[in-house]
Amino acid sequence: MSYLKIENLVKTYNKTEVVKKLSLEIKKGELMSFLGPSGCGKTTTLNMIAGFLDVDGGKIEVDNESVQHLPPNKREMGMVFQNYALFPHMTVFDNVAYGLKLRKVTKVEIKRRVQEVLEMVRLSGFEKRYPKELSGGQQQRVSLARALVIKPKVLLLDEPLSNLDAKLRQQMREEIVEIQKELGITTIFVTHDQEEALAISDRIAVMFEGRIEQVDTPADIYNHPETDFVSQFIGEVNRVRGKVLEVYENNKCKLFFYGSEQIVSIHSKQNSEIDFFIRPEKIQILTSPSNKGDEIKTIVERKMFLGPKTRYFLKIEDNHIVADISNTMINPNDIHQGSNVFAIWKPEDLLPSRKGR
């Protein structure tokens, strides 16, 4: 079922392993993102797949054929570079036609295919321009067209949007997904921008220090992070600590959080302390106690109006947390700095930390 298969991939620089036994399977037509902070090995992995870097161990297979011994020009992979990497001495047409000329396609056919792909990236009429005469977004489109025109087995995108401004970035990523789905091309998208990855990917491989932390759909990555790194790297989280008061059957515990008591599904021991992560938008606030005993008394330190929502900076004992509240739920004018409010959350929204267990 898998189209691109990576098995125990290793890369070592000066005795330091930057990619550590990485394994991953990508389905045909899937858009897989490599997401991670800089230095996590995502670009190194991409360069190994493209053939620009030698593999120090492991296997890379495309369509059940091993490719790690092939030079980059024999791998039939289309790559889009962060800095576009267009040939500055060639026109848009010649840039796009470059790969076709190498494949000895007839002139008529070259012309047809170049026009077709330029239409797809909405650059018809720019054939005679030189790269320097185009804006960043246009250059990136040419770069995409140049990679797509050769009908590669795999499309590799190396932080293709990071040199563009915010608005264009959003527009381009929608275009990329649209084209990718239309052509059904297996794609790897390398990025350090989690919002970008969450927005466009079929699945995301979150990478950290040369390893894959989790491979899942964007929703699962966000809602069910499997490691502490993933929970903290994707989205924003608060860290709260609870103490186990009672242990029940079927993996439930009664926990004590800053003066409130809650029953959480978790396996633990009596009196142990557990760290949890909770996202700012999962916290609700009340201006008066609910009288159910699950609310936590806090002090509003600061608030920040963000249009549709307001971010409240709350102090709970010696811990600081933030809560994002929709302005349709609570009017921010009703809550003043220094006043007492009550924070509540649903026990199922708590993401247990692996370390503090």
Partner: protein, 320 residues
């Protein structure tokens, strides 16, 4: 309510806009003032050089140009009459035309040979990193640290009839008679290439280093072999460097005096040599001036022509 909100947003936008205008307007003003001042500062720094260039080069050159249209007077050197005779004399004499052709030919061959031997050297240095790169650059530049005269005599020792090369070849029994290596166009070109190749290496190296590695990777990724990547990406992108180097090497070569004098001798007369003969030996300044100007003219035409050929294939690079 909605209307009210919209109005507020509209007002906010207006205020924002005018604020922006105000701000950008004022910053532009400041920038302009600063720029003007900066330009002045920069010119102040250039003035000494410019003055030397004008007073000790351009003005004398202008006088020499005027002199080249004067008659020759055996007693005073420069006569009082105006004439085109000096130029006509050069153009109508096959000997002088032959010298001109030889000079340009040596210049062109020297340029071509330096390109061919400098490119691989520049390529390796551009690829090298850190200390190795510094050492290699120093190595290439090292010939410039030794006097040109000494280097030329070094070639005399190697190339003369009983020099190192000929005697070794005869000892090996490969030749019976010594090869006529010295005092030929060959020896002049060898000497020139040796003297001038650092300029070419530096120039090509500069343009090689400016090439982004991802552009080369893109070429390979699209299916080009290393060789194909070199011919269709690397080489075209380094044409500006090749051109700059060629202009330097060619002009230094056609105007050089020491190297052809020592390695060419009286058999291989070049333009600078006959200019020297006219000015310093015959004391015919008008004719010497005319020969000098013909050389400048021909060299300029050659460079312009050369740049035309190159620019055909480097359109996009010029923009870069």
């Amino acid at each position: 309510m909605l209307y009210g909100n919209q109005k507020i947003y509209y007002l906010l936008e207006r205020v924002g806009d005018s604020y922006m205008k105000l701000e950008t307007g004022s910053t532009i003003n400041i920038k302009k003032k600063k720029k003007k001042k900066k330009i002045w500062d920069a010119w102040l720094l250039v003035i000494p050089t410019l003055a030397v260039f004008i007073f000790f080069f351009l003005i004398p050159l202008f006088f020499l140009f005027i002199t080249s249209f004067k008659t020759f007077d055996a007693s005073t050197g420069i006569g009082g009459e105006w004439t085109f005779q000096n130029y006509i004399k050069f153009i109508s004499d096959p000997f002088y035309l032959g010298v001109l052709w030889r000079t340009v030919k040596i210049g062109l061959i020297t340029t071509l040979v330096t390109i061919i031997i400098s490119y691989p050297v520049a390529f390796q240095i551009a690829k090298a990193k850190g200390k190795v790169k510094n050492y290699l650059t120093l190595l290439v530049l090292s010939p410039l640290l030794i006097s040109m005269v000494i280097r030329c005599y070094g070639w005399v020792i190697l190339l003369s009839n009983n020099g190192v090369i000929n005697s070794s070849l005869m000892k090996l029994g490969w030749i019976d008679q010594p090869l006529e290596l010295l005092y030929s166009e060959f020896s002049v070109i060898v000497g020139m290439v040796h003297v001038l190749f650092p300029y070419m290496v530096l120039s090509i190296m500069g343009s090689l280093e400016r090439i982004d590695t991802s552009v080369l990777r893109a070429s390979q990724n699209l299916g080009a072999s290393s060789l194909k990547t070199f011919t269709s990406v690397t080489l075209p992108l380094t044409l500006p460097g090749i051109f700059a180097g060629s202009v330097m090497v060619f002009s230094l070569s056609v105007s050089s005096f020491v190297t052809p004098s020592i390695l060419g001798g009286p058999q291989v007369k070049v333009m600078s040599y006959i200019t020297y003969e006219q000015v310093a030996v015959m004391l015919n300044w008008p004719y010497g001036g005319a020969i000098g100007f013909i050389l400048i003219f021909i060299a300029t035409i050659t460079i312009v022509f050369y740049s035309k050929i190159l620019s055909k294939s480097k359109k996009g690079v010029a923009i870069q």
